[in-house]
């Protein structure tokens, strides 16, 4: 296996896509999956439960310094940034919002790109602002794989288009293509 983690970022219109992806991954998916999705700051519960319903792999909101394990999905908790430490652990943060967002997709992607370098797959999905564009650029600059959901398929195109403007990505994929790409990672 050439990779150490997959990270997905999205906001408006991404929930269904993430649900479909989690529903299609094999139970023994060989990598940790990081999910940084914009969500309401003050609503702590419900989101992880909703994502878990149809997921083939366990989905959890990590505690600070939890170790990342293959075959598990980690959802950035409400009102925290989610970083990846070099020690392959999650680090949470309550630092300032970035692009009005906490969790910030940029920060999750940038820290994951620093920790995993070329062994990271970053995917930007449907969303309503430009968060994630800088982060995906860092994934690409560090030699990782940069994937963007096809804007024509997105409920809201802003996030994917911003990412495409900033980075010459490796793939522009439909949800089905993203799924089959991930399924082939063995």
């Amino acid at each position: 296996m050439n990779y150490k983690a997959v990270i997905l970022g999205g906001s408006a219109g991404s929930f269904q896509i993430v649900t479909r992806i989690l529903n299609s991954l094999p139970k023994n998916f060989p990598l940790p999956v990081l999910l940084c999705l914009h969500r309401l700051k003050h609503v702590r519960s419900g989101f992880v439960e909703a994502l878990s319903l149809k997921s083939n792999i366990p989905v959890e909101e990590p505690y600070d310094k939890d170790s990342l394990r293959p075959g598990k999905a980690y959802l950035a908790p409400a009102n925290y940034h989610m970083y990846v430490e070099l020690s392959n652990r999650i680090a949470l943060s309550t630092e300032d919002t970035v692009n009005h967002s906490r969790p910030s997709i940029d920060l999750s992607f940038i820290t994951a790109a620093n920790a995993y370098r070329e062994k990271l797959i970053g995917i930007i999905l449907s969303g309503a602002n430009k968060d994630g564009a800088l982060g995906l650029k860092r994934v690409h600059d560090n030699g990782g794989i940069a994937i963007v959901q096809d804007p024509n398929e997105c409920e809201v195109k802003t996030m994917t288009q911003s990412a495409l403007q900033l980075t010459k990505v490796d793939f522009v994929y439909s949800t089905d293509q993203i799924i089959s790409y991930l399924q082939k990672l063995r």
Binding site: K41, D64, K65, Y83, L86, S93, T94, E95, A115
Partner: protein, 274 residues
């Protein structure tokens, strides 16, 4: 601006240790690096060398640096359900038990968001004269900002929403007045609070404390420092004293811990066992 590498960060940490005897080597690296880069941007320090020189030559800057390296609370009344628990479960149990005031410690105040939330709560339930609060800070800048009531105006909107969910007695706006680009909170609320300057190891922690409010600070430490600081907090609490951490922070190995037990898992509230 160039990104800081691990070697650069180690050099910064080494310099601070030798000059000021503050040891940041056990801070969680990712967020520490983020804040270093933020300080460099804020103070237009374009290179590692310029930051090192500033740390060496400018004593006033070092206090500001300490302030910037600690992270202010995101808002007042963050997690309203925790504040409701304090009002409805915790404080009512503390009234008649002991004659003396009971001690509350906030080990690391940066912007005073937690301190003012607590002071407003105590004011509203008429218990401000029953407690003795110690607020410790690592920078003079924090102490000045908190004492004068200065607060980031950007954080007011979400604080007001929280206060509504907390079901406070009044409007949050009755406790502050707007200035140009910041807010001034009514600092008579914290008149009785004792401010203490502490180093980052919390040496000389207060003793016999009944309640420690220490939310979302452990996340900036690595696991070894987390454990060390938890020991300090444990030593500071009286038997069955309460420790409140951030919602996604936890005490490792709690099920076998001889030190702490859960009071309320959802709100991250612990009690000292012995």
């Amino acid at each position: 601006m160039a990104e800081l590498g691990i070697v650069d960060i180690r050099e910064i940490i080494r310099l601070i240790k030798s000059l000021h005897n503050y040891d940041f080597s056990s801070y969680a690296l990712t967020s520490f690096k983020q804040r270093l880069e933020r300080v460099m941007k804020l103070y237009a320090l374009g290179s590692l060398e310029s930051l090192l020189r500033k740390l060496q030559d400018d004593a006033v800057f070092f206090d500001v640096f300490l302030y910037e390296m600690t992270v202010p609370s995101t808002e007042m009344f963050r997690d309203p359900s925790l504040w409701r628990w304090l009002r409805e479960e915790f404080f009512p149990q503390q009234t008649d038990k002991n004659a003396g005031k009971f001690k509350i410690w906030l080990p690391l105040c940066v912007s005073g968001g937690e301190l003012y939330s607590l002071a407003i709560l105590l004011h509203e339930i008429g218990m401000a004269d029953k407690v003795q609060i110690t607020a410790s800070c690592i920078s003079n800048k924090s102490i000045d900002l908190i004492r004068s009531g200065t607060y980031d105006a950007k954080k007011i909107e979400i604080s007001e929403e929280n206060y509504k969910r907390f079901n406070g007695l009044r409007e949050l706006s009755s406790y502050y007045k707007p200035e140009k680009d910041y807010m001034v909170r009514n600092n008579s609320l914290i008149e009785y609070v004792e401010f203490k300057k502490l180093n980052i190891n919390f040496d000389n922690a207060p003793q016999n404390v009944k309640l420690i409010l220490f939310r979302n600070t452990l996340i900036y430490y690595n696991p070894a420092l987390q454990e060390k600081i938890l020991q300090v907090l444990h030593g500071s609490l009286s038997v069955s004293g309460h420790l409140i951490l951030g919602i996604r922070e936890k005490i490792p190995g709690l099920s076998t811990s001889r030190d702490f037990e859960f009071v309320n898992e959802a709100e991250s509230i612990y009690r000292k066992k012995y």
